[in-house]
């Protein structure tokens, strides 16, 4: 049997939260979910590394959480709506984190959004990104 290439893999700068990511990121995302409770947020803030030991995450995932490396967290199975619990605990917004993930400043990112957002032109396929060099 021939396995067809996944067409979603061709969309640049985009990670689909599919079955494989969900399995990979289960404990990372469940850690984030725990931050829905005020007492857990306090415990996490008091000693982040110790709090993370309560969850059977990989050392890489723990490291990415401590460093707030958002794209890396996505690549390690994090889902943006779960990661939102983490950046909300930090008092950060979706727009703040989106700007970081795009390698932009929050000011530049906010300006791009006010000017109509990122165009789909040149952002549909990985080929588009390779061609722009």
């Amino acid at each position: 049997m021939k396995v067809e290439p996944n067409p979603f893999d061709d969309i640049p700068g985009t990670t689909l939260f599919d079955a494989q990511r969900s399995r990979q990121g289960y404990h990372l995302n469940m850690f984030c979910m725990s931050l829905m409770k005020a007492e857990n947020r306090e415990a996490f803030k008091a000693d982040e590394a110790a709090y993370l030991q309560k969850f059977p995450m990989t050392p890489e995932q723990r490291d990415a959480v401590l460093k707030r490396e958002w794209n890396r967290l996505i690549s390690l199975g994090g889902n943006i709506y779960f990661l939102a619990k983490l950046f909300s605990t930090d008092g950060k917004s979706f727009q703040h984190v989106a700007a970081i993930m795009t390698g932009s400043t929050q000011e530049d990112y906010a300006r791009m959004m006010i000017n109509g957002g990122r165009s789909p032109e040149g952002n549909r396929s990985k080929k588009d990104w390779e061609n722009r060099g």
Binding site: T14, M30, M33, K37, S93, F94, A98, T102, R118, S125
Partner: protein, 280 residues
């Protein structure tokens, strides 16, 4: 008999809820958006629905990765606003309509749409922001609400076709409910937006406009659009738009578009809003 009179679609961006709750609606950034909903507030105040079936998605609030129902119908008498990590929104508790909700559950399950029945569920901004946009800040919501939560967080969400046909099954259920009730259905989420990765901030006005056009005149065509088109053209979170097709499926084949509004941006998102009435 219960009568389904109209459908409303709207985005449900959390920052909109925060702007309302923090009294920022008159600020230059937000004012054009809230002005766009003024005609809708007047319209719904005149229409006075008894019950709204509100299709939305939970954002890792009521459902984590422990249980991921594709379609979850709220059959409880009440639904408290969820604590999404910064305390619950200070909005009224949402009152359900258990009798109609259970009737819909029974009817659509026997119609081969196997919904999950939920009796205990907090509702997040996905459900409360649309209510705030249409009703403002009342002490109590002026009607009962039946939440229908759709999974669009874990890939794959249900197909557009499945959503469209579920809408039709919901319509059959409402049509067979005896008490006189004026029912509306809301489809929420979207429009184009991407919250994650280096492509975050994607907005596709042409796609969104075509989606709004076809929602009225050719929903069958829209229902055939594959997931890859949503993600590529409308962003990874633009796939929420499949939920609008549940709303559309529950309406007549032919509908009257009574209002439309489109605004970029609310935070990272293109805000789309449309009101469709059944002709009869």
């Amino acid at each position: 008999m219960a009568k389904l009179v109209a459908g409303v679609a709207t985005s449900h961006v959390p920052a909109i809820g925060a702007a309302i709750d923090l009294g920022k609606t008159e600020e230059p950034y937000w004012k054009p958006l809230f002005q766009g909903y003024e005609p809708s507030k007047k319209w719904i105040a005149e229409q006075k629905p008894d019950v709204i079936i509100l299709v939305y998605n939970d954002h890792a609030s009521a459902f984590s990765l422990e249980i991921i129902p594709t379609f979850a119908l709220g059959c409880a008498a009440e639904f408290p606003p969820a604590d999404e990590g910064w305390g619950p929104r200070k909005v009224p508790v949402v009152k359900g309509h258990p009798e109609l909700a259970w009737h819909i559950a029974q009817s659509v399950i026997l119609d081969e749409f196997d919904l999950t029945i939920v009796n205990n569920m907090a509702v997040d901004h996905g459900l409360t922001v649309p209510l705030s946009l249409l009703f403002g800040q009342p002490a109590e919501w002026p009607c009962q609400v039946i939440p229908l939560a759709v999974n669009v967080v874990q890939y794959p969400p249900p197909t557009g076709n499945r959503c469209y046909n579920l809408g039709k099954a919901i319509r059959r259920a409402v049509d067979s409910f005896d008490p006189d009730l004026k029912v509306m259905i809301f489809g929420t989420g979207g429009m184009s937006h991407q919250l994650q990765g280096p492509r975050a901030g994607l907005i596709n006005r042409a796609f969104d406009t075509a989606f709004l056009d076809n929602l009225t005149k050719d929903p069958r065509k829209l229902s055939q659009m594959p997931h890859i088109d949503y993600v590529r053209e409308a962003g990874s979170e633009g796939i929420e738009l499949v939920m609008w097709l549940i709303m559309r499926g529950a309406l007549d084949e032919k509908v009257r578009e009574v209002y439309r509004f489109y605004h970029v941006p609310a935070s990272n998102t293109a805000v789309g809003h449309i009101i469709l009435e059944n002709e009869a």
